[in-house]
Subunit: 504 residues, 2 copies
């Protein structure tokens, strides 16, 4: 075994290998470590930590497995498909199987309510959205160049977009005062600040639907962004990996839809990231997609995709699955409905105990407002509360500061990576914590609604505070899925973290 | 569609996107284009170009498919395995499935005749050997640093190792005078030249078995390399992706075996690249492996593997396949035997018509000596002959100059990516070409043998020349496989090239 001495490492290894650009050592990963040390299981470890830090979509696997059993020819490992085994096993063309690209392009259109037609020849595959986003940055920017990004934002972008490319990310602040909307003023200001510092801004990257907000961009914002990049001659990268998770109005509007109405905008500047990890719930299959309107980016990214091609076994199966129009139609309807019901159940139960969330309509998480539970409105105050949630409530959620949120007290809480029973255990724990520890339940009353949230005044032991809650009708969802198999969890000597996962 | 104007591209895109570092535009790819335009098919296009530029291993798929049908639980898409579908589809931990790493480690040991035990915790997965080699370079060297590499060498290293990392490759020459062996003198001289130019040399990379030579490194050479890197405190990267293709003596010796006997060598400097693309013939599945003795490299490369994880569907299947000791034993024996027979048939038929090859004992190709057919012993002469081979003989082979071979007239010819019938068509074409066009067959006689080759003197229309031939007993192999399905070839508007494939 080698020495770990830093000086020695720096001498023989690369700067990338010896800096902390990966970010795995941040304290934010303590919650994951707590979960890894003591994972909840309904019978084997009912007092363990419940994982609500992982944006997995487990709600519709019954539809997929039912389809697979009816379509054994979709696998090269069945009697019906094995005659294709060799042709698929040797297929490593970086264009991908034509039927795979066609099926993905069609699915991307359906995921956007068929408002847009995607061209299969612009589909570039990559190793998950992680690989896709890095590849795109390698094409668009040189080391030292920067991309602007609205905060709060998906923290692993710091790894995906910066680590090996040498590109910088410059966050610009969105705040709760306007429901975290992107404003032209904040964007312009960040752009000008960068120029003053002699940083070359090469583009803007947004997630739509937003991670961590669970909201969608409206058409005006998308138009503003397109106009902005067009004027500045920089890129707009739209990460749309949660496209089909939009379960409530307003509907999802893709940049692909908006750009159709803006013929004066230079399409060479517009790029979409996509994957099947969230929309289909299959992060393990590493289906990442770059869809670019720029021919040179398509050809260069495709060449780079050799570093992370999708397994041809998986391409073949996905091609068959997504080519089945009936399946896709049913899946999209059912997936949205189940997410809607899950979200409603979760947020309305939280509302009952005085916990509000930003009004969201998409993704696999809520942006939970615990500002009223902070001892002090600082990052330290947020992290203090967070440690209580991890260690006493025994739920792993993600603190807003890990997403570079400018306002302490927000938490991202995932709700689609478990079964109903586990969700209810989590809700019971939160209820018990808030009731016992922090809130005089008898005085809790609902009062007025704002545009996007409903306001409740609660009397807390530590003082009065206004809470913004989302109240909605709630329906109960039938149990459809089983929890993670503990048999499959890795037993590695390496410490675990959210970045162990390609996308959290 | 965007403008292709270079100036415009350079303004908005990255240097990587606008330079030619990928190498796809080299003239060497004309042979591939010729094949893509006019691919041979036994019945549909019997005058088409035969692909002998692609190092695929198609000889043992019957064993794999037979196993799959007997083991339906190895697939998550069968009745027997579908209950695991969700757990596998959501699995994206960068450590990989524990059973996958164990099975691969065990297979790597068996592929080296169980002379070495590989530790599953040192197995890092990556998107094929392409992704693995880039990832390793990202860990070991900074932009501007260099690796020494013996030439001739696998040309796509220029893409894999240099393109996005910014690392340089410095070739040092091996020549036919000693059967292209690596000498300490050449290595030392290249190292010193680099120092004089103020280039920081961070390591040496070798392929063992060699691509394109089809030979293995002997123990003394490996010891010399290990001593050299240890003294200089630089890295030794051994690409062993052809480990199980060694079909004849001398047996394969892995660096892992040699290092056991050299306790004074700093193991932190030693790294192995592996994959299942050649040994198992499954490049489409993108199973690339980094095995490093350096803990820091293991942890950093593992973090980087998020950019190119192996599909969990494929991990699951491979884990089951390679965990079956009986299958692996039978596969290894049978694969070597079939490669042996194929190689013997091909080289002995070539020998009959006066064409020699470097005496090889491994890999999926021969290093064919056509120096006697050159009009002039220059790269231009080699490429002139090569174009005749492509356009008249209608075989795509790879000219030595594309591997940076210092001596014109050598060609890499792949023999395991087709069925017996196609190989015989190729042999007939070569025979006919040599007989009609270049060689007075009646005067061809076999004369003396050297240590590694057999020498024949033939009378050519264009002059006399000595030929080095490998003569061997030959056995005929039963037809076991079918040719590529033309249905699966991609129909993309982008031009094709060998770099379309991740590994050629």
């Amino acid at each position: 075994m080698g020495s770990y001495k830093g000086v020695y490492d720096r001498e023989i290894l690369s700067k990338i290998a010896t800096n902390d650009g990966h970010g795995e050592n941040l304290e934010y990963f303590d919650g994951w470590k707590a979960y890894d040390r003591d994972p909840y299981h309904s019978t084997k470890n009912s007092n363990g930590v419940i994982q609500m830090g992982l944006a997995e979509n487990q709600l519709c696997f019954d539809l997929v497995t039912e389809w697979l059993l009816k379509n054994p020819q979709a696998s090269i490992c069945t009697n019906e498909g094995v005659n294709k085994f060799m042709d698929i096993a040797i297929f490593q063309d970086y264009h991908g199987l034509p039927e795979f690209r066609s099926a993905v392009a069609k699915f991307m259109g359906k995921a956007r309510d068929e408002k847009v037609i995607f061209n299969p020849d612009r589909i570039v595959m990559s190793g998950g959205a992680t690989g896709a986003s890095e590849t795109l940055l390698f094409c668009l920017a040189n080391p030292g160049d920067a991309f602007l990004i609205p905060s709060p934002y998906y923290p692993a972008f710091n790894r995906d977009l910066r680590w090996r490319t040498g590109v910088n990310l410059i966050p610009f602040t969105c705040s709760s005062s306007n429901n975290f909307k992107i404003t032209k003023e904040a964007l312009q200001s960040a752009y000008e600040d960068a120029l003053k510092k002699n940083i070359k801004v090469k583009g803007i990257i947004v997630t739509n639907p937003s991670n961590p907000l669970g909201t969608v961009l409206d058409k005006d914002t998308l138009k503003m962004l397109l106009t902005f990049v067009n004027v500045k001659n920089i890129h707009l990268v739209c990460d749309e990996i949660y496209a089909t998770t939009v379960f409530n109005s307003p509907r999802f509007i893709s940049v692909a839809e908006v750009i159709k109405d803006m013929p004066h905008v230079n399409q060479d500047l517009v790029h979409i990231l996509y994957s099947l990890s969230k929309d289909m719930g299959m992060p393990g299959f590493r289906v990442g997609i770059i869809y670019s309107y720029n021919d040179r980016v398509v050809s260069t990214a495709r060449r780079m995709s050799s570093f992370g091609l999708v397994s041809s076994q998986t391409q073949f199966m996905i091609a068959a699955l997504l080519s089945d129009d009936d399946f896709v139609r049913r899946f999209l309807v059912e997936s949205r409905d189940r997410l809607f019901r899950r979200h409603q159940h979760f947020t309305s139960e939280l509302a009952k105990i005085g916990i509000g969330c930003l009004q969201g309509n998409a993704a696999l998480f809520v942006w939970m407002d615990l500002r009223h539970l902070l001892d002090e409105a600082t990052v330290e105050g947020e992290l203090k509360l967070w440690r209580v949630i991890i260690n006493e409530v025994k739920i792993n959620v993600s603190p807003g500061s890990s997403f570079l949120c400018s306002e302490p007290g927000w938490f991202r809480v995932c709700f689609a990576n478990m079964d109903n029973a586990t969700l209810d255990v989590a809700l019971n724990r939160i209820r018990s914590f808030v009731t016992r520890g922090r809130v005089d339940n008898s005085t809790m009353t609902t009062t007025a609604a704002t545009t996007t949230t409903t306001t409740t005044t609660i009397k807390k032991k530590r003082g009065q505070m206004e809470l913004r809650l989302s109240f909605n009708n709630r329906r109960f969802e039938d149990g459809l899925i089983s929890p993670h198999s503990s048999l499959l969890s890795p037993h590695s000597p390496m410490p675990q973290s959210p970045l162990v996962k390609a996308r959290t």
